[in-house]
Symmetry: none
Subunit: 245 residues, 2 copies
Amino acid sequence: MQRYFTDEELTAGAVYTSGADTHHMKNVMRFKPGQEFHMVDNTRTAFLCEVTETDDHVHYRVVSEVEESPELPVRTSIFCPLLKGEKFEWMIQKSTELGASDFHIFEADRSIVKLDGKKRAKRLERYNKVIREAGEQSRRNMIPHINFGKSLENTDFGAFDAVVFAYEGNAGNPAAGLEHVLETIRVGDSIAIVFGPEGGFSDNEAALMERFHSVRLGPRILRAETAPLYALSAISHQFEQPASD
Amino acid sequence: MQRYFTDEELTAGAVYTSGADTHHMKNVMRFKPGQEFHMVDNTRTAFLCEVTETDDHVHYRVVSEVEESPELPVRTSIFCPLLKGEKFEWMIQKSTELGASDFHIFEADRSIVKLDGKKRAKRLERYNKVIREAGEQSRRNMIPHINFGKSLENTDFGAFDAVVFAYEGNAGNPAAGLEHVLETIRVGDSIAIVFGPEGGFSDNEAALMERFHSVRLGPRILRAETAPLYALSAISHQFEQPASD
C-alpha cells in the first residue's frame, strides 16, 4: 500500500487535494478514481484514503484511520557485547518484543564471551531465529537485523541522530538521566544506544565515548541484559503516548 | 558501611537514640563515638550518621542524606501468575532490579503452572533467594517480599491508590495507554499492576477486573515475563526524572 505524508491535519470523511505528491501519484503510480493509499498526517496518524477524481491534481477522500504502527517512532539500534550463557538470547528476544530496530555486536574490553569467524555465522543463525520468532509474536512490522560489527573505536556513529552511552558510572548522578537525551529527539529520528558487558565499561571505553551522551538508566544498577529493556521501554513511554484528547 | 532501618523520619543535623538496633550496634559492631553508619528512615531515605555517645543506647547525629534513593517513588506491587520454566525467576529477578515493591502470586484461569501447599514453601525459598541477590546487586534499599496470594476475585485491592489491569485485549487501543493512569498518580502513591499468564486473561477475569484501570503496555504484544519490566521501566521514566533545572 503506497504511503504518503502530508503537513495537513486530516479528518475522516473530508476531501483533500494532493500537493507535493501530485507527480508521484499521477505519473508514477498513475492513480485513478477508486485507488486506495495511505496518507500520514501531521499528527502522525495514518489514514486510508481513496481517490475521488484526478485533474491537474489528485483529489482524495479520507476513509478512516489505519491501525497504528507497532514500530517505535524512534528507530533504536542496540550496540551490545555478547553476554554469557542464555542472557544474550533473552536480551535480544525481549528487546525485539520491545521494538529494537537492530542489533550490532561489538567486543568490549571486559567482554567475557568472544567469538571468532566460523562460530559467529552459526551463532547469528540462532540469534536470527530468536529475533524472527519474537518479532512475529509481538506483531512487529519489521524483523530486526543482527550482525557482528566493528570495534567501538572503529564504528561510524555518524548516521544516527543521537548516540547514547549507557554507562554504569553514571548511576549516582541524577543529572545524567536518559530523559534529557530523549527530550532532544524527535519522532522519526534514529538513536544508537551502546551497552556494556557484565563487568561494565573500561576507563578507555568511557573516554572513547565521552563525545556522546553518557547516561544512566534510572537510579538502580541494572544487569547487562536488563539495561536495553529499560531503555526501549522508556523510549516507548516517551514517544508512544497518544495525542492528547 | 553498616546499614540499619528505622521507623522514624530522620532530619539532617538532628540527634537520635538507637532502638531495636542497640544490641547490634553496641555488642556486635561495638560502635564508639565518631563511628559512621547508614540509617534508612521511614521515608526510605538513607542517611549518613555518626555516633555521638554510647550509654545503654547508642546516640547518633544525622550528618547528611546519602545518595538518592534507589527505590521507585511510586510503590509498585506486581500481581502475577506463575510462569512456565525459568521465566518466572527471570521476571522477578529483573523486576527487582527495576524497583518492584513486592510480588503476589495468584492462580489465573489460564495458568499453565499450578503449585500446592508443600511445593509452594520450597518454591518461595528459591524465589526469595533470587530476589535478595538481585536486590543487593542493584543496591535496593529494601528487599521485595513475595507470597502466594488469594485468587483475583478474593484479593482486596483497597489498599492501593491505583490498580492497573495489564490486559492484552487492549493492544490495539491507543486510548488505553498506561501513561493515562500514571498521569493521575503522585509520588508516594502505591500502585498494583495485575499481569496475566502466557495464555492471557480469560473473559471472566477481564470482566472481574473491569472496575480497575485496564491498560495496554505500548502497541506491541509483550510476553508475560516481559510485561512487568515494561511497566516498571515506564514508571521509573515517568517519576524518576530529576527536577527541571
